[in-house]
Symmetry: C2
Amino acid sequence: MARRQVTLAEVAQHAGVSLATASRVLNGSTRQVSDLLRDRVVETARKLGYLPNASAQALARNSTALVGLIVHDISDPYFSSIAAGVTRVAEQAGLVVVLGTTGRSPDREVELFSTLRAHRARAVVLAGSRTTDRAASARLAAEIEAFTGQGGRVACVSQAKFPTDTVVPANRAGARSLAEKLASLGHRRFAVLAGPSDLLVSRDRLAGFRAGLTDAGLTLLDANVVHGALTRDGGHQAAHELLARDTGTTCVFAVNDVMAMGAMAAFREHGLRVPEDVSIAGFDDIPPLRDLVPALSTVRLPLEDMGERAARLVLDEGRDEPRTVRVAGEVVLRESTTTPAGTGSA
Amino acid sequence: MARRQVTLAEVAQHAGVSLATASRVLNGSTRQVSDLLRDRVVETARKLGYLPNASAQALARNSTALVGLIVHDISDPYFSSIAAGVTRVAEQAGLVVVLGTTGRSPDREVELFSTLRAHRARAVVLAGSRTTDRAASARLAAEIEAFTGQGGRVACVSQAKFPTDTVVPANRAGARSLAEKLASLGHRRFAVLAGPSDLLVSRDRLAGFRAGLTDAGLTLLDANVVHGALTRDGGHQAAHELLARDTGTTCVFAVNDVMAMGAMAAFREHGLRVPEDVSIAGFDDIPPLRDLVPALSTVRLPLEDMGERAARLVLDEGRDEPRTVRVAGEVVLRESTTTPAGTGSA
DNA sequence: CCTTTCCAGGAAAGCGCTTTCCGCCACACC
DNA sequence: GGTGTGGCGGAAAGCGCTTTCCTGGAAAGG
């Protein structure tokens, strides 16, 4: 147990070469080493089971192979899809992914960033909606600034709030065009199950949806907007709240699929059929829900792809000015939305 | 840009103390430092924005705060749920999670382990079914042995195949008791959508199911076992294959929920109603599918909890003998299974 | 044949920390 | 007042690597 690890020095000694030569052989340096010595070193290393000490290398080189990935909740399909994209690209590039979860706490976000900075991570992908909290935002901005100042790269998947590379989903435009399509189905009375009001993603999708209705000459009543957590239970609760208000809407937009799912359950409990009694649409098109019955109308976001794009941005050693990649959302109308029956009842 | 990071030496100098004292103050060492100096160091560190270099600490201390987490596919709810449990516990313990994904390649598993070893990770949680591949298994065993020999701890979430702590879901028992319940509903002709035949999880669940049927005096025909990938598409394809064979089964068991979901889609495409025409059950009870319609009968596994348990095992500095934690699966019969109608048609 | 040039190999200086070991001082005890 | 004793501060030796710089010899050029 606990036998010491084989060091480069031991390899060098066994091979009868200097430390420098051994190092040059065992990690593509620019310098040449004769085939004779090279073979001897490689062979010795193999025989001894040499494995470089990553910490020592990081210290000596002043750089690591670490890439941070910060998400709110890894069990949420939205984030796990993005994570899949990020890890694929990172691992392909020979990097190691460090996963941090915030549980939606902005402070934890800052804390994680700081940890990543202490580890001299080469880059960080920060996924998850920004909030309206100025103070928290400023603290994070300072951390990001410190990180980039230290030579690290940062990419966000969310709103472009910081001077970093950012992958921005078209929340507004997607919701807007969804609203228009829904309106053109004949719906007149809409409700929105919005996420927490301090989350930009909620605001943007709500605003976009409202704009789409306006385009169609309709108005979204404030009484028909119910806020709730961006979770299954949040949607479930918000839907119940909406039903309690009895606003007679025929079509409900949940700002993300997970909430839509919860809402569908709530409607079902209430004896309402989807889409006959009430139409419902979500946003994101998360993969595990693709086979839902009735199939959920939504705005499809290429989540894995977004993760990949973010990772590529952050690993691209190139240019310095922050780049913004806008990702369009594609409205997919499926079975959960239809033309309104008689008078809505929700 | 790229301004150098503040070092301990600078802090020490500014505070007018030795490196040793600064170090002792800024990381709970056992040694005492007078309040006067302590305050001076702390204040200086704060002012200078000192952040310890994790690589340097790791090198000097010969230990890190890294915990590895190896999964097949982070976007699979099975793994992302486990990951959520692991990260929660690890982060609570002040550790940093390194995420590695294998894409179901045993070699990649070994590779990741080796990387983690190079990084001197303190522990690794390895989630995901073991296979029947002796050679790959041996390679992994060697890696694990090297890792533990170096002082690292390992826990698996799967079958107890290595001399390490292991969280073992009751695949056999769960499937067996599911089979019994299904049989008692009146079904006589069963089919199984099994995963890849070289995966122990498939084998165990299949074997358990078969045993349960035997208990009920029934037999599972080999023609009614279709293998496929443990994915939505795998289930979809396997179901189609089953339909092509036209075996007249009334009840189908998919060895995991994701496959069950794909199978349900396939049946739907084929004009079969679930559960009227065919009953279907899965395994795992992954959270995003809890609101499915019809609700999926399955064997519930406390996935997040399993992740937490594994993490706790691996972080518990205690005892040396490998511990095995068995996790029971709870059969949950929901709407997707019912008593067979007339003669089955699938 | 001598001078240059080039290149591979090695010595050694770090990288930023931790920790051992030593020394000094203050205090207590006889 | 002399001798222990305990504790705190600092010097310095690593931790395992990378990389600069130097050196000697071989190849090339005059």
